[in-house]
């Protein structure tokens, strides 16, 4: 490295403790992708609009491109790889495939991370409310209908399981 400022951070990523020295200017998503090889989180716009970089930090969905790795010191980070491995969204992933809610798949990790938050606090939502919740995630391929279908379907199943369906 050059004489740029660095910081040693220690955090949990996908339930594993990780300690690294990072450039203070490195963004969280670049840290995850380059340092840890977790390339499931993607860079689309690199300025917080498209949602392809969405990751879960301390339980909340955040923009990996707007957060510095240094800010994640001491945090619990979950990427799409970790989320997928826990099985938390196995139903959603299956329905995404069934409904063809992905074409190139580039936006999909971000869509799933955001939808996972919607499903975690599952309550009855109209299609419009689902759209609004997902409005921070862009897709250039599908036209969104199949994505909303998949989330709506999965939400319905989860509410039925909990006896909360309308």
């Amino acid at each position: 490295m050059t004489d740029e400022e660095t910081l040693t951070i220690s955090l949990t990523v996908n339930a594993e403790r990780v300690t690294r020295t990072v450039l203070t200017r490195q963004h969280l998503v670049d840290f995850l992708r380059i340092e840890l090889g977790l390339t499931g989180s993607h860079l689309g716009c690199e300025h917080g609009i498209c949602g392809a970089c969405s990751v879960r930090v301390d339980g909340d969905v955040v923009r990996g491109c707007l957060m510095l790795a240094a800010q994640a010191d001491g945090a619990e980070v979950v990427t799409i790889e970790g989320l997928s491995d826990t099985g938390e969204i196995a139903d959603l992933q299956r329905v995404f495939v069934e409904r063809n809610a992905l074409q190139c798949g580039f936006c999909t990790p971000g869509m799933l991370i955001t939808a996972a938050e919607l499903l975690r606090d599952a309550k009855p939502m109209s299609r419009d409310e689902i759209r609004t919740f997902m409005s921070g995630n862009y897709c250039r391929c599908t036209g969104y209908q199949a994505i909303i279908d998949a989330i709506e379907t999965t939400l319905g199943h989860r509410l039925t399981d909990r006896g909360l369906a309308e």
């Binding site: 997928s84 495939v97 799933l112």
Partner: protein, 77 residues
Amino acid sequence: MTDPTEKPFDRPDSEIGRAASRPNAEWLVAGRGCYTDDIAFSRLLHAAFVRSPYAHARIDAIETTLGHRLTDQGLVE
């Protein structure tokens, strides 16, 4: 020989009218796709584009000082 009474949609092995299979979809939804920027191999170089700050001007020189300063990291000017 094609049976003239057979509709195009009934031909064996025809994809017409069938849902296309997506064998990649399962690992794409697991975040395990491999896109261009996900590829890493040794001695990989990155390109940075120098853009003109002026919409219409004559180029007298292109400042590459930054490139010189980072050459020891293997970046090409």
